[in-house]
Amino acid sequence: MNSREQILKLLKQHQTNKTPLPKIDTTALLNVNLVEKFKFEFERVGGIFIKTAFNRIFDEISKIITTENLRKIYAENFDNEINAIIKNLQVDEIITQPHSYRQISIVDASITSCDFLIAETGTIVFIHRDEKFKSAVLLPRVHIIIAKEKQIVGTLEEVFSISGGNFDSIFLITGPSRTADIEKVIVQGVHGPQKVYLIIV
């Protein structure tokens, strides 16, 4: 008998089934302005929230480029309008078609989209089921996300009920990369981004 069979046999011998699986009531966020709630939670974990009109995206990103002194940028493939905006950004290099994650590891910042924003916790949701680089949200020092207001949902439960189980992976980001491993001092940007900017249109 192999280990699998051994373990399962023993577990089945001790199966009791006395406790029912509790039902989990959906806790939708009621009477809450989702944008305000998201902003509050996102800023509380150290995210930088920028709400702007579509025609101001270029200016907002340009400001970030100056503040963060960004020279090389990786940008995901957006729709034509946003692609055009990104193309015109004043930086040394914009990579849009990297051949490997190594190229993303040398940029200062990445510009990506996301799938959902969760108001309850200020979390940004990335659902991978396509050709996107997963590591683009982790490798650069600065991460800029462009999202639409309608992508904000109340809770993680809502994300699960929309996505079902149909994904390669889900990545949840709540603020910058952080550690408190040295004397409980919070340091941002351990392995992932030090700064997370969210531009909401």
Partner: protein
């Protein structure tokens, strides 16, 4: 470092005298507990969440075979390789086999208690495969060649000065004691490792049965990179990590971050369903090793079973007045503190760790703080009973309790014994319980016992 559970008492004395260590511990623990209280008290339904989490775990453990098989089925459908290991040896062999087949030279590891449990990193290194801990705290203890002293804050026992000196000595960098700079040094070194690693090894906080998902919760982004960059990802998880549904995560996320690191939500969560073939990044092969290693032994006992509900948050350690004062290394186990005193004897040998269940004042703080409501203090009581049954307590103690029982069973003997003690103390011969009296006075017996007063003065009032 030669820390073993047998040496608990010696280690404890040494730790109590180590002022630096005490200061490091106190600072870290106070900080986390204060913050935890803040983020817990803002939830009006904390107690409900604890109960829900408890019930989900209880239900799952009662039906563990069913859920593991379901998880396996879904994971295989998703393209994940599922391996079952009855012990550490088997798990290590699986890993080395995969590594050899892939001609791997470098592994990056994200934080995982179960890999500590089976000594995976040391094993891979012995087999010539460089294996690097990428969680900052784990990286620090790896450099120092130490055990983690807490399950979610492994380097809690060290100060910034000590870490600065360690980095300067082991990494040849310029001495600095600033956490920001130290973190930047680690980032730079570890980034190179990430980019060149052949295999990423992780643990798992949860395995979701209905979707076959591997779920990892973290703050630094190292687990995200570990499970994204290398072409092979091996996750190792104890069999108790499975939960039924994706939606159950919403409960556990609320309690885990708050309990482990006093956070409302951790910075990163990876929910991994399947490898991605021919995609720009992400592993092409994912393996999950389901590890027993003594867990089914716990499951056989109704008393010990609840220990399997543990989500390894480490809150019971921070809340324990003993752990607070002696630190994690004293326990001589990778699972220290209250839950460790349950897991260490039952999983790794009762005889070696028999002292641990006794190293508690049974104050119940561990239960009070436990986010899945494990009655740890009561399990410790049970383990003390097991120690007696297994004949692991001292002869003297046994005799003392035999005599005590005889005198307590019979009121005449009880009264006689008390009179005898009064007499002995009157002529100045009372025994000195050195273990008590070295630091504390012991009270004398009262001149008259209550029952004597009752008989002579009080009883008649009630007639």
């Amino acid at each position: 470092m030669n820390y073993t559970p047998q040496k608990f008492s010696i280690n404890a004395k040494r730790a109590l005298e180590n002022e630096k260590l005490r200061a490091n511990l106190t600072r870290a623990i106070k900080h986390t507990l204060t913050k935890r209280t803040e983020v817990v008290s803002e939830l009006s339904n904390w107690e409900e969440l604890r109960q829900l989490a408890h019930d989900i775990k209880k239900h799952t453990i009662e039906n563990l075979g069913y859920y593991l098989e379901l998880f396996e089925k879904r994971a295989i459908e998703n393209g994940i390789n599922v391996l079952w290991a009855k012990d550490g040896n088997e798990a290590r062999e699986f890993v080395i086999e995969i590594a050899k087949k892939a001609k791997a030279k470098l592994c990056v590891k994200s934080k995982s208690m179960v890999t500590e449990e089976i000594g995976l990193r040391e094993f891979l290194e012995e087999n010539g495969i460089e294996t690097v801990e990428t969680d900052l705290g784990e990286f620090i203890v790896q450099l120092a060649n130490e055990m983690p002293s807490h399950i979610t804050a492994p380097a809690m026992h060290k100060s910034r000065d000590e870490i600065g000196e360690l980095f300067a000595e082991k990494l040849g960098v310029e001495l600095t004691t600033e956490p920001e700079k130290l973190t930047a040094i680690a980032r730079k070194i570890l980034r190179e490792k990430f980019l060149n690693a052949d295999i990423g090894i992780s643990g798992a906080n949860f395995l979701v049965a209905e979707t076959g998902s591997i779920v990892i919760v973290e703050n630094e982004g190292n687990a995200g990179l570990t499970t994204t960059l290398p072409k092979i990802h091996i996750a190792i998880a104890g069999i108790e990590k499975v939960i039924p549904r994706l939606v159950d995560l919403t409960i556990f996320f609320k309690i885990l971050g708050r309990s482990a690191t006093a956070q409302r939500f951790t910075s990163y969560v990876s929910i991994i369903n399947s490898p991605r073939k021919n995609k720009p990044d992400s592993p092409e092969e994912i393996y999950i090793i389901l590890l027993d290693n003594g867990r089914t032994e716990l499951l056989k006992s109704e008393k010990l079973k609840p220990a399997l509900y543990c989500i390894k948050c480490g809150a019971c350690m921070l809340a324990c007045p003993v752990y607070q004062r002696v630190g994690g290394h004293t326990y001589g186990s990778i699972y220290p503190g209250p839950i460790g005193s349950v897991l260490t004897p039952t999983m790794f040998g009762f005889n070696e760790a028999k002292v641990l269940p006794f190293a508690s004042s049974l104050c119940g703080r561990c239960y009070e703080i436990c986010p899945v409501k494990i009655e740890i203090h009561h399990i410790l009581l049970w383990l003390r009973h097991e120690a007696v049954q297994k004949n692991l307590t001292s002869k003297l103690e046994k005799i003392v309790f035999k005599l005590w029982t005889i005198s307590m069973r019979n009121v005449k003997l009880y009264e006689l014994g008390a009179s005898l003690m009064r007499f002995v103390s009157k002529i100045g011969l009372q025994p000195k319980f050195k273990n008590w009296t070295k630091t504390r006075d012991f009270p004398q017996l009262a001149e008259k016992s209550f029952r004597e007063i009752w008989r002579k003065e009080l009883k008649n009032d009630f007639k």
